[in-house]
Amino acid sequence: MPTSPAQRAANRRRTLTGWMFILPFTLVFLVFLVAPLLYAFYNSLFTKGLATGTVFAPLDNYIKAFTDPSFLGGVAFVVGFSLVLIPVQMIISLAIALVLDAVTTRFARFARLMIFLPYAIPAVIGAIMWGFLYSPTFGPLGQLFGLVGLKAPFLLDASHVFGGLMNIVTWQWAGYYMIIIYAALQGIDPTLYEAARIDGANARQIALRIKLPLVTNALLLILVFALIGTLQFFTEPSVLRTISNGGITQDFTPNLYAYFTAFSYAQFNYASALSFALGVVVFVCVYIFLFLTRKRGSFLS
C-alpha cells in the first residue's frame, strides 16, 4: 500500500513514542534477565579445577548436571511434587471459590479473607511457623499424640517430608488461587444462571456446566503460576532443612542444590550450569503445557 510522506512521518513518530514508553522495561529486561542468563551460559561453558585452572569445556558441566544424581533427584522431586500438589491445590481452591461464590453471608466474606491471608505472610515466616507446629518437642502434634500414648510422626523426616511440605505450600497459596477463581466467577453474567435455572438445571449442574467452563482461563493462569513456582521450590526447604533431621538434604530441590554448589562449595561455573539448566527445563515445560492447552484469546495467542 503506497503511503504519503505525512503518513510515514506519523508512523515513524508512533514507533518512536511507543519505544520511549517501553524503554525502561527494555533496559531492565536486558540488564536483569538477558544479561544474567547469557553470562550464566557463558560461565557454564568453563570448568574450574585446582590443578587445571579455568578450562573452556563447553559440554562438561551439562554432561555432569544431567548425569548428576543430586540434580536429577532434585528435578524428579519437584516434578513429582508438582504432579501431586497442583491438582490438590486447584481442587481445593476451586471448591472453596465455588462455595464462596454461591454463599453471600457475612461469614462467607470473612472466611474469604481469612483463607486468602496466608498469601500475605512471607514464605520464610510461614515455614518457620509450620516448623514449630511440626516440632515433636514443642508442637501441638506431639502433645495430641501424647494424649493417647503414641509418638507423633515428625512431618519433616525423610518418610513424611513430601506431605509435610505439601501442607505448607497449599496453606500458603490456595487462598491466592481461590481469590483469582472467585474474581473470575464474580465476572460471570448472572442472567446465565437464571436462564439455566429456567431450563431446569440444579445448583450442581450450574456449577459444573456453566461456572467451571467460564473460569478455564483463570484455572490455566493459576496452573502455569503453580507450575513455575513449584519447579523452582527453594524457600521452604531451605528454611526447614536445619530442623528436618536429614529429611531435607542439600540437593533436595534443583535450586537448593545450585545454591549450595555456589555458596558452600564455591563451584560457580557448575552452579551457573545448574541454574541455566533449571531455567531451560522450566521454560520448556511451561511452554509445552501452554502450547498444548492454547486456545484463542488466552495467554499465548
Binding site: T15, P122, A183
Partner: protein, 239 residues
C-alpha cells in the same frame, strides 16, 4: 500446652527491639525500603511499558511482546545465582541496589497493565486529547493514567508483597547483616537457633515474636486495600 506457656509478651517485645543493637528494627526498615523502592519502581516501569504495548502500533512491538511473554515463563529464582555472579563482578553485591534493582524486573506486571489498559483506556479518548493539542506525555499523564487506577493498585500491591517476601535474592546478595530484610534476618536467627539446640533458647522467643510482627504490615495493607486488589486480581484471567 504449647501455647499457654507463661510468656511475658512485653518483655519479649522489648527484648526483640533491643537485641543486638536493635538489629530487628533495622531489618524491618530495610524490608520497607526494598518493598517501597522495588514495588514503586517496578510499577512505574510496568505502567509505561503496558501503555506502550497497548496503545502504540510501533515497529518491533510483536517481537518485544513475545519476549515479554517468554520472560513470564522464566523462573525468577533461576536468575538469582547468575545475577549474583554478574553483580559481584560489577562490585554491586552487598549494597541495597543489589536487592532493589533486580526487583524492577516484573514481566507479569507489564502483562497485567497491558491487558487492563487495552480494555479500560479507549483510543478515541486519547485521539481526542491529541486533537485538542495535548502532547503524548500530557495525554498519558492526564487522560490515560487516571483510568488505570485499579490496575496500578493491584500491580503495586503484588510487587510490594513479592519484594517484602523475597528471600532467595537478598540471602544471596547481602552479607552485611545490617542490610538484611526481615525475612533473611529471621531465617538466619532460625539457622543459628536450630544449630545449637540448648543454648539457642532465648533466640526462639525472638524468632516467634519477630515473625508475628513482620506479618502485620502486609496484613494491614491487604485488609485496607481490599476494595482495589479484589477487582484487580481478575485482570489476567477474565480475558
Amino acid at each position: 500446652m504449647w501455647f499457654d506457656k507463661n510468656v511475658g509478651y512485653l518483655a519479649n517485645l522489648q527484648d526483640l527491639f533491643t537485641y543486638d543493637g536493635s538489629i530487628y528494627l533495622h531489618w524491618i526498615g530495610n524490608s520497607a525500603l526494598y518493598a517501597v523502592a522495588g514495588g514503586v519502581g517496578s510499577t512505574i516501569v510496568s505502567i509505561l511499558a503496558g501503555y506502550g504495548f497497548a496503545k502504540f502500533a510501533f515497529r518491533g512491538r510483536n517481537l518485544m511482546f513475545s519476549l515479554l511473554l517468554g520472560a513470564v515463563m522464566v523462573p525468577l529464582t533461576a536468575l538469582v545465582i547468575p545475577t549474583f555472579i554478574l553483580a559481584s563482578d560489577a562490585g554491586l553485591t552487598n549494597t541495597i541496589w543489589a536487592v532493589i534493582l533486580p526487583s524492577l524486573l516484573n514481566p507479569f506486571g507489564v502483562y497485567l497493565m497491558r491487558v487492563y489498559i487495552g480494555d479500560a483506556v479507549p483510543d478515541e479518548l486519547l485521539d481526542a486529547a491529541r486533537v485538542d493539542g495535548a502532547g503524548e506525555l500530557r495525554t498519558f499523564l492526564q487522560v490515560a493514567l487516571p483510568l488505570m487506577r485499579p490496575a496500578i493498585v493491584t500491580v503495586l500491591l503484588l510487587s510490594m508483597v513479592a519484594t517484602w517476601n523475597n528471600y532467595f535474592l537478598p540471602l544471596v546478595m547481602l552479607s552485611d547483616k545490617t542490610l538484611y530484610p526481615v525475612t533473611v534476618g529471621i531465617g538466619v536467627w532460625q539457622g543459628l537457633a536450630s544449630g545449637n539446640n540448648g543454648g539457642g533458647h532465648s533466640l526462639w522467643s525472638l524468632i516467634v515474636m519477630g515473625s508475628l510482627i513482620s506479618v502485620v504490615p502486609l496484613v494491614i495493607a491487604f485488609l485496607t486495600l481490599q476494595r482495589y486488589w479484589r477487582g484487580g486480581l481478575s485482570i489476567g484471567s477474565l480475558k
